[in-house]
Amino acid sequence: MAKPIVSMINVEKWYGRNHVIKNCNLNIMEGEFLTLLGPSGCGKTTTLRMISGFELPTSGIIRVEGESVEKKEPYERDVNTVFQNYALFPNMNVFDNVAYGLKVKKVPKDEIAERVDKMLKLVQLDGFGKRRINQMSGGQKQRVAIARALINRPKVLLLDEPLGALDLKLRKQMQIELKRLQRKLGITFVYVTHDQEEALTMSDRIAVINEGVIDQIDVPQKIYNHPATRFVAGFIGESNILDAVVLGKNDTGIQVGTEAGNAIGVSDDETIETGDAVSIAVRPEDTLFSKERQPGFSIRGVVKDHVFVGNLVKMMVILNDGTEFKINRFNEDDMIEPGQVIYLYWEKEKGKVLKTRSLVNTDSHRDIKGGDEDEEEGYAAEA
């Protein structure tokens, strides 16, 4: 993969007593579409604003193309932002909004006209130059905001939940269009969202952020199929997550014991030892069941009910310890009537054994993240 265009090294951010970004180390590669994904308040927007310069890190280094920028003003940085609510200047028309950055740079007038026209064509707003901002629809405003940022040929384009205000259909359409633009222009996109589906469809890589810590950074398939932490497993897609203790480890997998019974899983984490407190995560669609106990598994539950939701059937099982367990099937005939007792099992590769992260000990965060970064290269090569 290409060289990093943005590097964040040991970046910390405190708001008074709130530690919002905890030792962030992040390399954004040239030309990639990176998504910062996490629930609201996790620090993803703060990370973005530190790259754009609207927030200064409490400590640490931020480099853009090798040059330290962490103390520079936003107008001195070669990055541009697409804001959440577009932030278009209502006192100017579409043309003047898009031309703003070029006028600041004192680009000759006819070149401005030419470049603005080209840019408006690129975002499919040909001929809208004279329109006032309040005459534009939400989707059109979004395009103007993207054009206004892209016309400056930034090294990195930062997008702060740019599609949040659009309706679902328009959002899907803009997702495809943004991806198209990014491929066409080859500009690095850093995209902030809390919508996991959006992240999975658009990104080259996703950084999942949880309480100011990057839990995992990887390609979408790896994030989905190999979550590194319990948080990632729970946040991306649906997962059944059970607290467990490692009972033993051998070539066939890791045997764990939960309150509801024993199970088998695998882990990417080699440091897991017998006796460790872990979580085991299984996707509802990966969960199998039968009337008889399967070797290595002893989780038993009672079927509560099942619901038909169109493309699949969801079944809810209550385990011995009272936990609710979700199972998805594509065929209604596979379902079992409520009240029946079943045994749950899965192919051992589908059960992800994850180390339970203690939230108090920051050192362990560093360990986990250090590991991630090493692996990252390997994943990138694989992908």
């Binding site: 107008y75 932002t81 609510n85 932030a87 278009l88 200047f89 703003y100 400056n152």
Partner: protein, 299 residues
């Protein structure tokens, strides 16, 4: 058949509702309407009629139509007063805007707690009697007043400065009286400005100066214009400051009108002056609305 039977019922109910709403609207709007007619519209009509009447002996209004009053206004002596008051009002307005805008901008950036404290400080001149404030300025600016004493003590000046009864004292007094009217509308428009717009400008490479003139100033212009109106208009008619800090050397239209009704006992002429002032003010409000101002912002 059934449908036909059903239809009149909801209609009747709707009529009842409108009757109820109408009654409510009369009860709610009645008093304010009567009040406005009695104390605003009728007096203005009386004033307008009176401005075309002539003055009798001992200040009695003689009901004989004439244009004499309006002709008098444009005689050089009175016209000078109008010119003078417009100049003072102009400078007061310019200075209140220049001082008030940064003040409002700083206040808009403060935390809610601090900004409300400053708001109270700003409001104090509005709550204290103008007379008291103006007297304190007399004490401050006197030849042997506080300011002169301090300046002489620290040796900045050797002779007391003439600070009272001139343009300086009038402007300072006016400035003090009208600052709240100027800051409040500007504060509200600066506070409403989306900070993301300022960020967007900086993000696109514009420094603070360019951002101010290209984004902040145009977008807060309605607030500035409201501030201009709220300072300029009352300033022209305000006579207390000029009376006491101007020492009678500076006369404003307000003083002139006041004297016509009290000392000179020439009510028709006073009425004509008041009408001219009212027309000037209406003209300005009309311009304000034309350039896209919101009348609600004027309070």
């Amino acid at each position: 058949m059934k449908k036909k039977d059903m239809q009149p019922k909801p209609k009747a109910r709707r009529d009842k509702k409108t009757a109820k709403a109408r009654l409510a609207s009369i009860v709610m709007n009645g008093p304010i309407t009567i009040w406005s007619i009695l104390f605003i519209i009728v007096p203005v009509i009386i004033l307008a009629v009176m401005s075309f009447m002539s003055k009798g002996p001992l200040g009695i209004v003689v009901y004989k139509p004439t244009l004499e009053n309006y002709r008098n206004i444009f005689s050089s002596m009175y016209f000078n007063v109008i010119k003078e008051s417009l100049i003072i009002a102009f400078w007061t307005t310019v200075l209140t805007i220049l001082i008030g805008y940064p003040f409002a901008a700083i206040m808009a950036k403060m935390k809610a707690k601090t900004s409300s404290l400053f708001m109270i400080l700003l409001m104090i001149p509005m709550w204290v009697s103008g007379l008291v404030i103006i007297y304190s300025f007399v004490i401050l600016f006197n030849q042997s007043g506080i300011l002169n004493t301090i300046l002489m003590k620290i040796g900045l000046i050797s002779k007391p400065l003439n600070m009272l009864y001139n343009h300086f004292s009038v402007t300072v007094g006016m400035l003090y009286m009208f600052m709240p009217f100027s800051v409040l509308p500007m504060y509200s428009s600066i506070e409403k400005l989306d900070p993301a717009l300022i960020e967007a400008s900086k993000d696109l490479g514009a420094g603070p100066v360019r951002t101010f003139f290209k984004v902040q100033l145009p977008l807060t212009a309605p607030g500035i214009f409201a501030a201009v109106l709220l300072t300029f208009i009352p300033c022209i008619g305000y006579y207390m400051v000029t009376d006491m800090l101007g020492g009678g050397t500076n006369m404003m239209i307000g003083n002139l009108i006041y004297r016509q009704f009290t000392i000179s006992r020439n009510w028709p002429f006073g009425a004509a002056l008041a009408m001219v002032l009212a027309i000037v003010i209406l003209l300005m409000v009309w311009i304000y609305k034309k350039v896209g101002g919101n009348l609600d912002d004027l309070g």
